[in-house]
């Protein structure tokens, strides 16, 4: 009955290094993708913070066999033109878990909690015995600093190694390089290329260069010079808090009255709300008590009362939008686009959290996409592509719930529509609820699914104008062919049956040509209307986007026999 074990405290680093499969390292192929993704996301966040237009360069090489069976040794290097990091920050960012400039700040940045890149360093360390190799230069630094950072797993501290000062021909920026056991998968939904093209799609201001394995360098230039402005977080909304958070929040305010604290520390609490609270039974004397003296019981009373009064929904100012203009341009970078539609909704509140949904749909020309395969659905959460576990995701569910047939697309029951289309859905929110730690699936709450669904429906309506125009054109062509083919057959038959003379045949043929010509004229007119509609849509788009997709050419078929 001896008590043998004493309680010891583990560091976060110990926890995460034991659970790397939960944060993106569940297989060697995912390890490569996660490494690329965390580094690129950090670069993008850093540039945005600093108000810089990002230029990111990626190289991925295979340098040999991995130390583990069935793996390759892969070198991944990401170079950016961001603000760079001070050396003391480098150590934290790359070598310490939960060290972040963003933790819990309620902003729409890609990274949030300071886990990702430290996990990459850990993986590199575990599989190649070498952490992150970093070069950094801030504007203030005269020369660049090159170093290796490792995670001290026992103490969750970054360890700086082989620090060197070097020349670097740029004002500021950061390069990081990892050697890891991994496997490269380029194609497919979980492939590296899907991540890179998805990232350029929702980051129109990004210029990306990459060279992967033996392939040539690829450059995707930015299509806008506007740097997304990241709105500041707003004060917390009482309905999004738990009691404990509510009490903890009071500690930030020192010696003020409850009433003042409520108005100052929260959004959507006005004098009117205080009046409502009093109507609901809260005493004025309590509102006048100082927050640092009231009892827990009274905190509970205030909190409960607040939960019961009606408040305005939280502000949506804290969400960031890519914008229809930028999306429209960016989608052209994916491939040869036939036509497209983009919709950027106004920010709204779902499940008490501000959220903004944007959708871009494009039909691609000449890409290896079969007419009868499902569309390619790209999902983005805070501008990061989600590449796994799509079936339970709010975005997938919303896309499957739309009746695409009414916009001219084929669609099996309860499924994604078919055709050579890209459907990109972007959800931006300071509080995205993921179903798991590896952040691949957005929880499908009814409110969020409905908001995404509405966005998709709007995009579908815009798209349908283009599709309608296409089908009108096909129609006109068919009508012309019909006239040429059937007019003589029909008239000849009727003449034989009525034993009519030849001249009657001529007259009837002429009349028929006129008649059917009228139909064709009518069809042509319909086409014109359809074209006008589609053009209107395109013009509207242009006003927003400044670019115009090539209109498909309507070929006039020369009439063959002079009689149609």
């Amino acid at each position: 009955m001896a008590k043998t074990q004493s309680i010891t405290s583990a560091s976060s680093a110990e926890y995460f290094s034991k659970n790397l499969q939960q944060v993106g390292f569940s297989s060697y192929t995912k390890a490569a993708l996660t490494t690329l993704k965390e580094a690129v996301d950090n670069s993008l966040d850093a540039c945005e913070e600093a108000g810089l237009l990002p230029e990111i360069s990626v190289t991925i090489e295979k340098i040999g066999e991995g130390t583990a069976k069935n793996s390759d040794s892969i070198k991944i290097r990401i170079e950016d033109n961001g603000p760079g990091l001070e050396v003391e920050d480098i150590v934290k960012v790359f070598g310490e878990y939960l060290a972040s400039s963003k933790f819990g700040r309620g902003r729409c940045s890609r990274g949030q909690q300071g886990i990702g890149i430290s996990a990459v360093t850990t993986w590199a360390q575990l599989t190649s015995a070498r952490g992150a190799s970093v070069i950094t230069k801030t504007e203030k630094m005269r020369k660049a600093c090159q170093c290796v950072v490792e995670v001290d797993i026992k103490h969750n501290k970054g360890v700086l190694k082989s620090k060197e000062v070097i020349d670097w021909d740029r004002d500021h920026g950061l390069t990081c390089e990892f050697i890891i056991d991994a496997r490269i998968q380029l194609q497919g939904e979980g492939g590296l290329l899907a991540y890179l093209s998805g990232t350029t799609l929702v980051n129109p201001h990004l210029t990306l260069r990459y060279k992967i394995l033996e392939q040539d360098w690829v450059e995707v230039a930015r299509v806008t010079d506007t740097i997304p402005e990241i709105p500041e977080a707003t004060d917390p909304h009482p309905h999004t808090m738990k009691l404990g958070e509510f009490i903890a929040h009071s500690h930030l305010f020192g010696r003020v009255t409850i009433g003042a604290w409520l108005k100052k520390g929260f959004s959507r609490i006005s004098d009117g709300v205080l009046t409502d609270l009093k109507k609901a039974g809260l005493k004025q004397s309590l509102l006048d008590t100082s927050v640092d003296t009231i009892t827990e019981e009274n905190f509970k009373n205030v909190f409960s009362a607040l939960q019961k009064v009606n408040l305005m929904a939280p502000s949506t100012k804290s969400v960031l939008s890519i914008g229809e203009t930028a999306m429209a341009k960016s989608i052209q970078r994916i491939g040869q686009v036939d036509f497209f539609a983009v919709v950027s909704r106004k920010p709204t509140i779902c499940d008490f959290k501000p959220v903004l949904v944007e959708v871009a749909i494009a039909r691609l020309i000449d890409r290896d996409m079969p007419e009868d395969g499902a569309v390619t659905l790209l999902r983005f959460a805070n501008r990061v592509p989600l590449q796994f576990d799509k079936s339970a995701c709010a975005m997938t569910k919303a896309a499957e719930s739309v009746n695409w047939r009414s916009y001219g697309l084929n669609q099996p029951k309860d499924s994604l529509p078919l055709g050579p289309y890209i459907v990109a859905v972007s959800v931006v929110s300071p509080f995205i609820k993921f179903k798991n730690a590896s952040k691949e699936t957005v929880d499908a709450s009814d409110e969020l699914v409905e908001e995404i669904r509405r966005t998709l429906i709007q995009a579908g309506q815009r798209l349908s104008k283009h599709i309608r125009r296409e089908s009108k054109e096909a129609d006109l062509e068919k009508k012309r062919q019909h006239i040429e083919m059937f007019a003589p057959i029909l008239v000849d038959g009727a003449c034989r049956i009525t034993r009519s003379p030849k001249n009657r045949r001529e007259r009837a043929l002429e009349g028929l040509a006129k008649l059917l010509g009228r139909d064709a004229a009518l069809a042509e007119k319909e086409l014109k209307v359809a074209i006008e509609h589609a053009e209107e849509a395109v013009m509207k788009m242009e006003q927003m986007t400044g670019i115009l997709p090539e209109p498909p050419v309507v070929e006039e078929k020369p009439k063959k026999k002079g009689k149609g």
Binding site: M485, V491, I497, R504, R507, G511, L515
Partner: protein, 380 residues
């Protein structure tokens, strides 16, 4: 008696109108009677479903020009047949048109990809001319109507003018099989005929004949073989009209029989609205199985399987029929619609062969029940 359709004249008229309109660059429009329930009327004095004023118009335009051209082409083939008295099945017409097009490349645009396409054109011609395919010398397989009688004589005038007289009592065990155009026949009774019994199941008609029904009773007995074909419908009308004998329909007690078999035999159908006059026998009575027979004869019956697609569809259709079908709505047919209501309420069904269970040791029991029911006016 039968209103003969002059297809040739109709075709010429149609083409004349077509050409006249075209010469004036007017858009030709072809109208046909709408054959659907919402254009059905029922006049109890007439006794069958008649068409209302609603028309279906086919306008010649770019969308319809292929269909119209194909129709004109097919009419030519049919007129040729009518000229020489040749007949064909739908499939043969399909191959004839294939051959015609093969020999005349200018017609290539008309070519049919499969028989469904040419069948649709034949149907379209029937609609426009308001006739049956038999009027176009395009015949379906013979189905049903095998007839037995010791008294009935059938007289036929052949196309070449010769006459044939068939004495049904002289065919041994073989039945007389009326063809698809029974209207051209003449009937005569050698002796007084008491009634004509139309049996839904051909097998049971056979059983009754084999057991001597037609020997013991001066009657006409015929098997309908399910939903009555045009031949069976025309033949029954002919018997009713020419011989003036009461006609009784003996079939299952279920919604499908009431609506699809008995109603069609007695008053025609919405689909054949244009020619119900020639293809219905309004005097036919429903002899059974009647709902009250189940109790009276202690017949084995069955619950309708509502998860069976066919049976549940028939029930649904019965509900509709009671609300919308002018035949079932007319009080003259209250007896029949009461049965439908009973079926809807009780959701039971009973097959005509159930009468064989009444006294299984007496093979003549079903016959006796039929005779008894007729004697007691136990029918609707």
């Amino acid at each position: 008696m039968a209103t003969d359709v002059n297809v040739k004249q109709l075709s010429v008229d149609m083409c004349e109108r077509l050409l006249r309109d075209l010469e004036k660059a007017r858009r030709p429009v072809f109208q046909a009677t709408k054959c659907a329930l919402d254009n059905c009327f029922y006049n109890p004095k007439v006794g069958y479903l008649t068409p209302g004023d609603k028309k279906v118009a086919t306008e010649l335009n770019v969308s319809s020009v292929q269909k119209m051209s194909r129709a004109i082409f097919m009419i030519e083939l049919i007129l040729r047949n009518l000229d020489v008295g040749a007949t064909n099945t739908k499939r043969e017409l399909y191959y004839i048109s294939k051959g015609e097009i093969k020999h005349n490349p200018a017609l290539r645009p008309l070519d049919f990809d499969d028989q469904d396409e040419s069948d649709a054109i034949v149907d379209f011609i029937c609609e426009m001319m308001e006739c049956y395919r038999e009027d176009l010398n395009c015949f379906a397989n013979d189905r049903g109507g095998q007839t037995y009688s010791q008294q009935l004589m059938v007289m036929e005038t052949m196309p070449d003018g010769t006459k044939a007289t068939i004495d049904l009592s002289k065919l041994g065990t073989a039945p007389f099989q009326p063809k698809n155009r029974p209207q051209s026949l003449k009937l005569k009774a050698k002796k007084k005929i008491d009634f004509c019994l139309i049996v839904e199941s051909e097998g049971t008609a056979n059983t009754l004949v084999n057991s001597g029904f037609t020997k013991r009773h001066p009657v006409i007995l015929l098997g309908a073989q399910g939903v009555p074909s045009n031949a069976v419908r025309g033949w029954t009308k002919l018997i009713q009209d020419e011989l003036d004998v009461p006609c009784y329909f003996f079939g299952d007690l279920d919604a499908y029989t009431m609506q699809n078999i008995f109603r069609t035999l007695k008053a025609g159908s919405a689909a054949s609205l244009i020619r119900n006059a020639d293809f219905s026998a309004p005097e036919v009575k429903f002899l059974g199985v009647l709902p009250e027979d189940i109790k009276k004869y202690d017949l084995p019956d069955y619950a309708v399987r509502e998860n069976d697609a066919v049976e549940s569809r028939a029930l649904k259709k019965a509900r509709d029929a009671l609300q919308n079908d002018p035949f079932f709505k007319d009080k003259k047919n209250k007896g029949v619609s009461d049965i439908l209501r009973w079926l809807l309420q009780h959701k039971r069904r009973c097959e005509q062969q159930a009468f064989f269970s009444v006294n299984p040791r007496d093979p003549l029991m079903p016959e006796k029940i039929i005779i008894e029911k007729i004697k007691n006016k136990n029918f609707v």
